[in-house]
Amino acid sequence: MRRSQIVSLLLAVIIGFGSLVGVIVAGWVPVLGVQLQGGVEVLLRPTAPADDEQLDRAIEIIRSRVDALGVAEPDITRQGNQVVVQLPGVKDKQRAVDLVGQTAELRFRPVLLTFNPFDEVDFSGAQQLAEAYNGSLHPESVDESDSGAAEDELVGEQEMTAQELLELIDPEAAAELDAESADAAAVDDTSETAGATDDAEAEEIDPSDIGSEQILDFTAPEDDLADWAVLLPGRGEPVGYVLGPAELTGEAVSEAAATFNNEWVVNVDLTDEGAVGFDQIAARYFGQQVAIVLDGVVESAPVIRAAEFGGTAVISGTFDEEGARDLAVALRFGALPVVFEQDDVRTVSATLGEGTLRAGVVAGIVGLIIVGIYMLVYYRLLGIVAVASLAISGSILWSLISWLGESRGLALTLAGTTGIIVSIGVQVDSNIVYYERIKEEVRRGRAIRSAADASFRGAFSTIVWADLASLIGAGVLYQLTSGTVRGFALYLGLATLIDLAVSYFFMRPLVVFIARKLVNEEPRRLGVLGGTDDAATAAAVTGGAT
């Protein structure tokens, strides 16, 4: 046995089981898809053609809404011009479907109060103000608000944690806090937030003082109604806003662009109707802040500096280039929001999901055991290699799926599971092709130890060519389809690649090892019947033809 083969055998075992141990130690497990653990899956298609920028913005909006649902592994991806939203394990399925389908609207709302969202006293004061305001706006709701349930309708509870708010304000600082809070260390310099508006009220906050899991009761997405006062967080600044009913919507905007003129500003062009409406607002709130709100987040809250605008407005402030561009995109998006049609809505109950998962797992294990037994009975010692190859492939696949789930949020779907069960067949077949070649050579009278080595080249070529056909299939399907079929193609392709690697780096050296050390030139140990000496084998060869 050549040294390189021993090395490759050892490496295969180390990589195979090492990765499995690594994944287990890291606590990674495969993320289960909607069909396997229950949840919601929605396929959205824009009713009108939308460009990339708009779709990306829409996805961002959906993502932030979904965060409010507290889903562990939301998966929101674009496939062509469609958006696939997968929310495995989501509790309130109907609410999830509604939220995902809602059209985002850009609204101009007057600012009633700004407050420090990390200060509980400030927060409850702001809540009371919003409730009082709504009470006067909608007196009919006050009658019911005696009961606790109705109160939720005034200011709904969005279960946003302080950590999530921080991410909205300053993603970098949030990530830092997340990391630091794990170490239980205090930090002072995480409050470097990018000031975006001309509002200087932003206080220095020290996020390390607050628990990142503190719940902040901002207005829930479904309660963010145009004619109610709401409590919303700001983007890029640690400020909470109490906002009055919307005065104007994004329809008023015809165009918005970020330009550099000594500093970054956003130029806004208004439609003819919008210009009239905007001037009305300007007159009423002169000197006060008016918030630009896109889907529950205050993008900016500039102070109105003129009483009349005449169709164009300039928003200036301490923008950096990115901030200005983001605001311009938000305004443009608001002018022409992407309206989605729900092409395919699927909810799976947790029990059905679990049942399917259990069925799949049990079926997979039973299938593996039966195949293992068959291989052991038929190929004897070589059957051990087949079982070991399956174990190595299995652990590599498990690690890979866990890693994909952890790093990419890629869920293991039902179709993916079947792809894997199918790949058991492919893996075992590679073994069979090789073993049959060995047996053939041995029947012809070749010594087993040399047959094991010599048969591999021909067998591996067959395996490669056949696997290549599988890979072509998987590649085409992955590229040209979506949803179920795509998931299947992905896992079939992965499993096929693993099969190739395991065949070459693990199966071959192990077979050679067994042929040299354990078989002792007794073909029976490989399940080869017939003569053991050359004369008998020769007789078998010619005997078969007569």
Binding site: R45, T418, G425, D429, S470, I472, V476, F488
Partner: protein
Amino acid sequence: MISALRTFYRGENSWDILGVSRKVLVGSAVAVLICVVALFVRGLNLGIEFEGGSVWEIPIPASAQDADGDAASGSAADGLTTDDIAAAAADAGVPDARVQLVTVTGSENIFRVRGVLGPDVSAVEVNAALASAADVDVESLSTRQVSPSFGDEVAGKARRALVVFFVLIALYLWFRFEWKMSVGALVAVVHDIVLTVGAYALFGFEVTPATVVAFLTIMGYSLYDTIVVFDRVKSNERSLPARSHFTYAALANVSLNQVLTRSVNTSITSVLPVLSMLIVGAGFLGAGTLSEFATALLIGLLAGSYSSIFVAMPTVAWLKGYEPGWAAAQVAADAAGRHDSMEAATQALAAENYTRSAPPRPRKPRRSRNQRRR
């Protein structure tokens, strides 16, 4: 029978597989014909993913079920029947809903309601109505709503992927082997797909994306099997001296016999997990999607193993028979009164392989060059 198995296990089989295939192919042709007719007459029972519409799955706990579990008559909990559920659906705004009692397992039954939402009916209301009719929690329902246009798109995409796949595979086999083998492989794959799809039409199984996945798997397996067979034929053809002592059919026959053990074993090991999926997964634990999938796979796998031996290779042998060299060999064999020159091929191959593999380090390239010069 036992002796045949023994011969097989010892690898001593040298059966006239091509000869057998001529008889078997009649059966194949009849089966394909039946499937095509079924496809046209009965059509496919397309799932909502392709047609649009709505599906509700309502689990009924077994505790609420009649002791004798008269699932066959379509009733489950407390005498709750499919008709009751259909009536509830109609009241909620889903007229003409089709209700089935689909899965019967140890723990629960599932009413499956399929229909189209009436105009101005929200899915939420129907969810609530169905849940209260069956006296279960709304959250335990599984639902799905698909818009009609979406189905067209899915089907269109699948069709396009299939065409691209066929073209690429044909080119691949042409590049790797020869175009006649591309034809053989595609004929075999089409044969398998027609049989599987035909079975779906015959039994009225619902075609879902999972089924499409199954069809694709079948194609993959079938091709894989076929490539293994072709690979052997090609390598045998290359290693033979260019003496026309035997026909292409004989060469094919010998090669088929050589890979038969592999084909049978691979089929068995591929079918075992699928059978386990069908029996354990679907039978005992009750997962509808799994059982549909497994059924399609099982039919397709068996068809695939069969076709790689009995359809793909005979097609290639038939096409090759028209090549001048092989045609001459056939004429010579007929003239000598040897309709079957398999024996000669077996011996020539055995001798050739034997000498080739006997030296400790066979140098294949040089040898083959010498042969060509001869």
